[in-house]
């Protein structure tokens, strides 16, 4: 087959294949989570910063030894973030107005439509039916795009590994617990039930019920119910979210909405456009193609092969 014919064939079949693709991509609606998805309600008004959840996470996930003991409260002097050695950390926030300091546990929020999953080009991430956002470290190529995509700055990176650096984050204890209907280790150890484990749909009801019954205790907002299309972990607080380090500017649209329309266009631009414009070109240069030098040209080409 002549190269020109081969390319033409490719373009035509590519264009044909792509006809269905853009409509399918654009049809991706908003996903409000699996109906039986579990979640965690984090009642930050109950947290006293004992760091038991950090210890439990460390043991359950077999993470390396921490820098300081888990009962060392001096860590609250600075704001920490999740690392390859700690999938969850508790931070202390000064609430001001003579209020007691507030504590908030931070870990992956397990979004309904995760930005990390959307951004991962090797499809290492999965949103499970149970609500967990897990990842396959064997597939992960360590590109760190998910770290950029995550609006909560959660995925951490194993910089310490020279040969197989991968992304590390909370996986909702999926493999050891959630899969079997059990709550994550942090929930089980929490002494004050800051963390309530249950169906996400139930937790939303419980949260609003708590606000309704004790309006003085909470601000009337359940962070994570709607933010970024909803997250599996949701927060009740006595102070506005930004006071305890929860970003209020994230909006209610999932990360994928920012790129969905653009991504829907990609197949069209990449496949239909070349086919279309090549077609135009071929039509426009049709007469020239039958010109005198055509045969010599293709003979030269064949000669090369």
């Amino acid at each position: 087959m002549k190269r020109r014919d081969f390319l033409k064939g490719c373009l035509i079949s590519g264009a044909a294949a792509s006809l269905g693709v853009p409509s399918k991509s654009l049809a991706v609606g908003s996903f409000e989570g699996y109906p039986d998805a579990m979640g965690i309600l984090v009642d930050t008004t109950r947290c006293v910063g004992c760091r038991s959840c950090e210890a439990a996470c460390n043991k359950e996930q077999k993470l390396p030894e921490p820098d300081v003991p888990f009962d060392d409260l001096s860590v609250f002097e600075e704001k920490r973030r999740t690392t390859e050695k700690a999938y969850t950390v508790v931070n202390r926030y000064e609430a001001g107005d003579g209020k007691d300091p507030q504590f908030r546990k931070m870990q992956c929020n397990h979004c309904n439509e995760p930005g990390c999953l959307t951004s991962c080009f090797v499809n290492a991430y999965t949103k499970t039916r149970e609500g967990a956002v897990i990842y396959d470290s064997k597939i992960c190529v360590g590109c760190r795009t998910c770290m950029v995509a995550c609006p909560f700055n959660i995925p951490a990176y194993s910089y310490s590994s020279a040969f197989n650096p991968v992304v590390k984050k909370c996986i909702f204890c999926y493999h050891t617990r959630l899969k079997y209907g059990k709550p994550p280790a942090c929930v089980e150890i929490c002494p004050r039930e800051v963390l309530t484990f249950g169906l996400r749909s139930d937790l939303i009801k419980i949260a609003h019920e708590r606000i309704r019954e004790t309006p003085d205790r909470y601000i009337d907002h359940l962070y994570g119910e709607k933010e970024l299309g909803g997250t599996s972990w949701m927060y009740l607080a006595a102070v506005p979210p930004e006071k305890i380090g929860l970003d209020e500017t994230v909006g209610n649209e999932p990360i994928i909405s920012n790129v969905k329309e653009f991504l829907g266009m990609v197949p069209m631009v990449l496949t239909i456009w070349p086919a279309l414009f090549t077609g135009f070109h071929l039509l426009a240069t049709r007469n020239k193609d039958h010109g005198a030098d055509h045969h010599t040209h293709s003979e030269q080409e064949d000669g090369k092969k």
Binding site: A55, R192, E193
Partner: protein, 175 residues
């Protein structure tokens, strides 16, 4: 020696608790209650009940209600308005020790108003710490009440299990 004393106190408390009748007649009030007797991470801990009675005086401040009275907690009243006088007064009489097992979650969700009841552990920690904070007396730190077992110290990387190498300043919260 210490452990032996705890055991003794635990046995005594168990015996005392067993003598509390459900009917409200001839109540025997325990002087101490041993908590955490099943815990792997902590030594059993003896709660000085008698001391609290002297300080708090009003039983319902902690117990929601006493035996022989009607239900008083607004959360309970919604359903138990017409229930007879309460027979149960102990924490574990209502608060489940295993609130988050797979079965408990399924069961709890059926009973709509019972589903937001704190577990036994949570009910106690919320009651104790909140009141101690409010009264500005009594222990609020974990180890003020709980003494680690060896397993507990290992779990929290504390004491003899503390990390050996000193971290460089500001090493937490790397990227």
């Amino acid at each position: 020696m210490q452990t032996k004393r705890f055991w003794l106190a635990g046995m005594m408390a168990t015996v005392l608790l067993a003598t509390v009748p459900g009917t409200g007649r001839g109540i025997t009030i325990p002087d101490t209650v041993t908590l955490h007797s099943q815990s792997k991470l902590y030594e059993p801990f003896v709660f000085p009940h008698a001391k609290h009675i002297l300080i708090v005086k009003e039983c319902s401040n902690c117990h929601h209600h006493t035996t022989g009275t009607l239900v008083q907690d607004p959360n309970c009243i919604r359903c138990h308005r017409n229930s007879s006088e309460t027979a149960v007064v102990s924490c574990k009489g209502c608060h489940l020790p295993d609130a988050f097992t797979a079965t408990a979650i399924k069961e709890k969700n059926k009973k709509i108003y019972h589903r937001d009841m704190p577990s036994l552990k949570a009910a106690m920690h919320q009651s104790c710490i909140d009141c101690h904070n409010k009264m500005k007396q009594g222990p609020v730190g974990c180890q003020d009440c709980h003494v680690y077992t060896k397993e507990g110290a290992a779990f929290y990387n504390s004491g003899e299990f503390a990390p050996k190498k000193k971290p460089a300043k500001g090493s937490h919260g790397g990227h």
